[in-house]
């Protein structure tokens, strides 16, 4: 008996216009693409808003509630890496092959380091951030050198506020001076926090050298830490992060913080513990955070739209209320309640920033002043005691 194949191999290929050579060629190309794909540079932009957005943000500043509608509308999933310290941010991007983070924040003192020294920022496309415009944004936050250099927009400032004294009103009277923390009954009940952008300027302020900050000589820097030792020795702990500090205040381990972010009362409030922030007579320390797209940005269009959302008037008002911070968009005032509006003198922001300027960070290199490295070494010695 003879068995005949219904279709021969060549008949099948021929019916589809294929030849053995063309199939092998296509298969080889596919295999080569498969092996090469992981090494191909990532596409820096997608044509639409959506997908996964990876951001690095301070706790409470990731627009969880404020961005809910936007996320649902565009089908965006936001993955957040919390920032414990501003220096956590550059650590992600300085090594080769940084992670595909689309957005991060930088404190006003880090502009030169990120933009000029480390070059870890990808310039923004202003046309994709229409809410950031000269008409709506307060002049102090619109295209100032901290965020706009060489004709390019590197960061969009979106929130600002005060780092100041935080205390538990049920455990102590409202402080009017940093020295109130040194009362005997508060021994072992206060904390400092390992956030150098807050603690260093506050320490410099109480040492009476704030007009010189961040350019202090080594002797002046040492004087600052010598003066701060009194608070350290009176403290229970130097908390690692604000999250750590919040858990300590909620558990009652500490009742006051030397200097911290003004949104802490909101976070302790969520856990049923009332805390308040107080601006002592020595003054507070101003901060301003800006969104930027790192060099590893993958979902650029969505990142730009997120930034646009962050400076939207209604979102600005919600954020200001949620974290007791200031807005950069003047139209946000129309959406604020009276209490939020009263947080800062929006009618005279120049005076606000004159009383509490935005400070930079110590220079990375200098023959005259204590460098950032000197400050880190001194801070480590201070923590060890």
């Amino acid at each position: 008996m003879t068995i005949r194949a219904i279709w021969s191999h060549e008949e099948i290929l021929g019916a589809e216009g294929l030849t053995r050579r063309s199939v092998l060629r296509t298969a080889a190309a596919g295999a080569a693409a498969g092996f090469a794909a992981p090494f191909m540079p990532m596409r820096s932009a997608r044509a639409e808003i959506g997908g996964e957005l990876q951001i690095m943000a301070w706790e409470g500043f990731q627009l969880d509630a404020e961005g809910k509608e936007w996320r649902e509308k565009h089908g965006v999933t936001v993955d957040v890496v919390a920032i414990g310290n501003q220096d956590d941010v550059q650590a992600k991007f300085v090594a080769g092959n940084p992670p595909p983070i689309d957005l991060a924040e930088y404190n006003q003192g880090y502009d030169k380091l990120y933009i000029e020294d480390l070059k870890i920022i990808s310039p923004l496309d202003e046309s994709k951030i229409p809410n950031y415009n000269a008409e709506d944004i307060f002049p102090g936050f619109y295209k100032r050198p901290t965020w706009y250099k060489g004709g390019k927009l590197w960061g969009v400032p979106w929130t600002w506020g005060l780092n100041s004294l935080i205390y538990n009103p049920a455990a102590m009277a409202a402080p009017t001076s940093y020295t109130d923390l040194l009362k005997p009954e508060l021994k072992g009940k206060i904390a400092l926090v390992d956030d150098t952008t807050a603690t260093w300027p506050a320490a410099v302020r109480i040492a009476g050298l704030i007009d010189k900050f961040p350019n202090l000589t080594k002797e002046e820097m040492q004087k600052v830490f010598d003066n701060l030792k009194t608070y350290r020795d009176h403290a229970r702990v130097i908390a690692l992060t604000y999250g750590d500090l919040i858990s300590l205040m909620v558990s009652g381990e500490v009742v006051a913080l030397f200097c911290g972010w003004s949104g802490i009362p909101v976070e302790t409030g969520k856990q049923g513990v009332v805390t308040r922030y107080a601006i002592p007579t020595e003054g507070a320390v101003m901060w301003c955070d800006a969104w930027f797209t790192p060099i590893s940005v993958d979902n650029s269009d969505t990142a730009h739209d997120f930034i646009n959302l962050a400076v939207d008037p209604a979102v600005q008002a919600q954020t200001a209320k949620a974290v007791t911070a200031g807005a950069v968009n003047r139209k946000a005032l129309d959406h604020m309640d009276d209490a939020t509006k009263a947080l800062f003198d929006y009618g005279n922001l120049d005076a606000v920033f004159k009383a509490a300027p935005l400070y930079g960070i110590p220079p990375r290199e200098s023959d005259t002043y204590a460098t950032y490295s000197d400050w880190v070494d001194a801070w480590n010695e201070f923590k060890v005691g």
Binding site: A91, E253, N380
Partner: protein, 289 residues
């Protein structure tokens, strides 16, 4: 090379390759970096001992390294001493593993959860202080329970004891029970049986368990910071700060390798001490004929 050896090499080669690529090569790279310089996160090729000299002439390096060594030594000693009788019980006194499982179940919990659990237990308003105050034994919370070396050791022993126990169980399982019976038959008491038979036979396991726990505890810098307060700053913090804050990788690498050299010295010291104490296996307890 016979087939058995060849098969063994083939089986081990994937892991060996992995270790070579992702441990040995990076470690060698870091070692090379430790002789370079850095300038605002930019590495500059050089061949200098500046980083090592800077670390060795900085008081804080000695201070935090000593803190780490103390934490490591105390944690390793307590873990090993507590684990040994438990391991003996598991190997020679019981057939079941329920005690072992109870110890190992803590591994199912995240490392950080366990650390924060101890913060809750030892805190001013925690279980211990609340209990002691309720019993009228103290009027004020005992502040030394948390943010102290005590808290660090308690937490690290809790975390590392399962490792020590497993290593000692493994070592004790190699000991034939007949040796212990022979020692008793020859008139050796419990102490003599332990020091002259059991301990020497399990010494490699004991040293392994001790050093494993010591290195992990002395090198840890998360737990000491979370529960140790100011006494919780160890060398790891200095190293991390150089990599994260100042971008001075060479300086950070030099401190890391100085710590490695110190650990190797401690290991050498432990071996020598066991020889001096005549605990090493194979030691003769009488003159050779």
């Amino acid at each position: 090379m016979n087939r058995k050896h060849a098969a063994g090499r083939w089986l081990a080669s994937p892991l060996a390759l992995f270790m070579l690529l992702f441990f040995v090569v990076p470690t060698l790279l870091l070692f090379v970096y430790s002789f370079w310089r850095a300038h605002t996160f930019q590495l500059e090729v050089d061949l200098t001992l500046t980083n090592y000299l800077k670390a060795l002439t900085t008081a804080i390096f000695y201070s935090v390294t000593w803190t780490g060594l103390k934490i490591g030594f105390i944690t390793a000693t307590i873990s090993t001493a507590v684990s040994y009788p438990v391991a003996y019980y598991l190997v020679f006194r019981t057939r079941g593993n329920i005690v072992l499982y109870l110890v190992l179940v803590s591994w199912f919990m995240s490392y950080l959860v366990r650390v924060f659990a101890w913060r809750t237990i030892l805190g001013s308003n925690g279980i211990v202080n609340s209990g002691l105050q309720a019993l009228g034994l103290i009027d004020e919370p005992l502040s030394f329970l948390l943010f102290s070396p005590f808290a660090v050791v308690v937490t690290l022993v809790h975390i590392l004891l399962p490792f020590t126990l497993l290593l000692l169980v493994s070592a004790l399982r190699d000991v034939k029970v007949e040796y212990l019976e022979a020692a008793r038959d020859l008139g050796a008491g419990l102490g003599a049986t332990f020091f002259r038979v059991l301990l020497p036979l399990t010494l490699n396991g004991v040293i392994g368990a001790f050093m494993f726990t010591f290195v992990l505890a002395a090198g840890d810098y998360v737990t000491p910071q979370l529960v140790g307060g100011r006494q919780g700053i160890t060398t790891g913090v200095l190293v991390a700060n150089q990599f994260k804050l100042t971008g001075n990788w060479p300086y950070g690498a030099s401190m890391a390798f100085l710590l490695l050299a110190l650990f190797l010295f401690v290991y050498f010291l432990v071996i020598q001490l066991t020889k001096v104490a005549r605990l090493a296996p194979g030691s003769r307890f009488h003159d050779a004929a």
